[in-house]
């Protein structure tokens, strides 16, 4: 049977596209409209892209090493970490902004808080279940030599 188009793939493509836009358009735009009329100091796009790229490398490296045993807790842990959106929510809710805007922020804050609390708690709850039969003795070196070789 021929391949059928399916949505997740489309969605992925779309998000890839969006991210590329994110990277390239501002550069072009900056070219088209040089130094927008006294705008806020344009946040440093390239710093952010560097930070993004480097964190992605770290993520790939670190996640690839997570024990298979713990993939379910890992999902809930990253879930809790993605609630970092709380930072934005706090800024929007707590600043001196119009009420309607702060309301949106409050809902976002509520949602993120829920994720933080439930995410970390359930991860810990799951991890507590992983037990070894005997208390895990780390194989201690035969006896650490006293300061090996300072004569």
């Amino acid at each position: 049977m021929a391949r059928r188009w399916n949505l997740p793939a489309i969605a992925m493509a779309a998000s890839a596209l969006t991210l590329t836009m994110l990277a390239v358009l501002p550069a072009l735009a900056a070219e088209v409209a040089p130094a927008a009329e006294a705008a806020p100091p344009d946040a440093d796009l390239w710093s952010m892209l560097f930070v993004f790229a480097l964190s992605t490398f770290i993520g790939i490296g670190v996640i690839g090493r997570v024990s298979r045993l713990l993939h379910t807790p890992l999902m809930s842990l990253t879930n809790a970490i993605s609630a970092i959106a709380v930072v934005g929510s706090i800024l929007v809710t707590g600043s001196d902004y119009p009420v309607e805007i702060r309301m949106l922020g409050a809902i976002a804050l509520f949602a993120s808080m829920t994720n933080i609390v439930s995410g970390f708690l359930i991860t810990d709850r799951m991890l507590k279940m992983f037990k070894t039969p005997t208390p895990p003795k780390t194989p201690a070196p035969a006896a650490t030599p006293p300061d090996g070789g300072a004569r």
Binding site: S76, T78, S82, A85, V86, V87, T93, L109, K131
Partner: protein
């Protein structure tokens, strides 16, 4: 000054998030990872709160307390409900990102058009599209997984569906581009909410055609989207901590879905395009073959004589919530000096690592949970392979039947054991919808019934034996 302190706090929090994930590489250090993550989050919250621009505290306190109040019960769900909780949580994450993006947009519209720089607008558009589609998509996924009655469980497909959806997304993106180019045109007051509505709609349409069984992979992708929307928020707010944490989350989601795909020997595209979750067509034209059913008593006797028993749990054990019974069985067998190992297939169940958590919940030491490749070496020495509600992950068709849809998937080689007992409720196939030769082979005996009940009877029978 405050600004620098907060930036420093963000840097520390980023490092702690990385360490949190790093420590998950070993069950021994994993709880330290959780602590590290929680501390990082605490630092992030408190230092943000301490910024001078945060002046209204009442709402913050109310929203935070409400969040905690809802979060605590959500963390107490039973372990079988973990997939839906995760999905729900992604929904919340997406919602938060979408709302912050919306708030920022209207705020900057109010403050004046020069605030809406190209970079900000692109990031906002990315944030709200990703955020809101994650919101409805995950909500629907959670509903499907929870089995809420008015949500169709079966995949809903219709002709032209994909083109329609693609069209919708295309419109949303096109509107987004317009907004970026001209953030304050007279029509932009309309364009922005339209994008939101389209994203919400798209999230629903994204999940409708996916069967419950492919859900874990999709949830993992949604996890990645939630992470990416946090990244986008980081670009909006010029906040590196958001970018770091979001990127960690995003890569985690993509890698986990890749791992699942690999363990099913399916390409990423195949999962997304293959329509696995759809109509499991009954295998036509096959001769009707015979299962050998067996009684609890004789199974008990064989088990008692074994010296190595390998238990292979699968999705059936999870739905039947049989893990505590399995623990009792384990105790009974171990008491008799029998070596008992659990063979854990990477995609047994419906979530990566699903079996591990369940068995850990029942206090089975994780050192007895053996990964597929390691246990397969021992299978020829295995006296009894006890398959509890697993099906696809022990299907030898994956090894020797070229035309099978699961051909090439690595499996647990239960068929190499001296005797196989298989617990399932009926003659129905598993997730992949195909017959399993294992059940027809000479040395396999079926124990029909609910996993919890059957294992319970086995335990009782063994206990009775040892009693007299």
């Amino acid at each position: 000054m405050m600004h620098s302190i907060v930036q420093f706090a963000y840097l520390v929090a980023s490092a702690l998030f990385i360490l949190a994930l790093y420590w998950m590489n070993d069950p021994k250090t994993a709880r330290r990872g959780v602590v590290s993550g929680a501390v990082a989050m605490g630092i992030a919250v408190l230092s943000t709160w301490a910024l001078p621009q945060v002046v209204h505290h009442l709402w913050l306190i109310i929203a935070a307390v409400a969040g905690v109040a809802v979060g605590i019960p959500l963390s107490r769900v039973s372990l079988t409900a973990v997939p839906q909780r995760t999905a729900l949580s992604h929904a919340f994450g997406g919602l938060a990102a979408g709302l912050v993006g919306t708030a920022k947009y209207y705020l900057w519209v109010g403050e004046g058009p020069e605030q809406l720089t190209t970079l900000r607008m692109i990031a906002i558009v990315a944030e709200i599209i990703l955020g809101f589609l994650t919101f409805t998509g995950s909500l629907l996924a959670a509903g499907k997984l929870q089995g809420i009655s008015w949500i169709p469980q079966r995949p809903v497909t219709f002709k032209g569906q994909n083109f329609m959806n693609l069209g919708l997304l295309g419109i949303a993106v096109a509107l987004g581009v317009l907004l970026v180019v001209q953030p304050t045109g007279p029509w932009s007051a309309y364009a922005f909410p339209v994008i939101i509505v389209l994203a919400l709609l798209f999230g629903v349409l994204l999940i409708i055609p996916i069967g419950g069984a492919d859900m874990p992979t999709v949830i993992s992708i949604l996890n990645a989207y939630a992470g990416l929307s946090a990244v986008a928020m980081g670009f909006v707010l010029d906040n590196k901590l958001l970018i770091v944490a979001g990127a960690l989350d995003g890569s985690s989601g993509f890698i986990l879905s890749l791992i699942m795909c690999r363990a099913m020997n399916r390409s990423f595209t195949n999962v997304l395009f293959g329509g696995f979750g759809q109509i499991a067509a009954p295998v036509a034209g096959a001769e009707v073959r015979q299962y050998k059913s067996e009684t609890i008593e004789s199974a008990t006797q064989v088990l008692e004589q074994a010296s190595l028993v390998v238990i292979i749990p699968g999705y059936g054990m999870a739905v039947a919530q049989a893990q505590h019974r399995v623990r009792e069985l384990y105790d009974q067998l171990v008491r008799r000096g029998i070596t008992v190992k659990f063979a854990i297939h990477p995609v047994a169940g419906r979530m990566p690592g699903h079996m591990n958590v369940l068995l850990a919940e029942a206090n089975i030491p994780y050192t007895d949970l053996v990964e597929m490749d390691d246990i397969n070496r021992d299978m020829p020495q295995c006296d009894v392979a006890l398959v509890i509600g697993a099906n696809d992950v022990v299907n030898p068709a994956a090894r020797n039947q070229k035309d099978s849809p699961i051909y090439g998937m690595p499996i647990i080689e239960a068929d190499k054991a001296r005797t196989v007992y298989a617990i399932k409720r009926s003659k129905n196939p598993g997730f992949a919808g195909i017959d399993n030769d294992l059940y027809f082979q000479d040395r396999t005996y079926m124990l029909f019934g609910d996993a919890k009940a059957v294992v319970g009877e086995l335990v009782k029978s063994l206990a009775g034996d040892s009693g007299h």
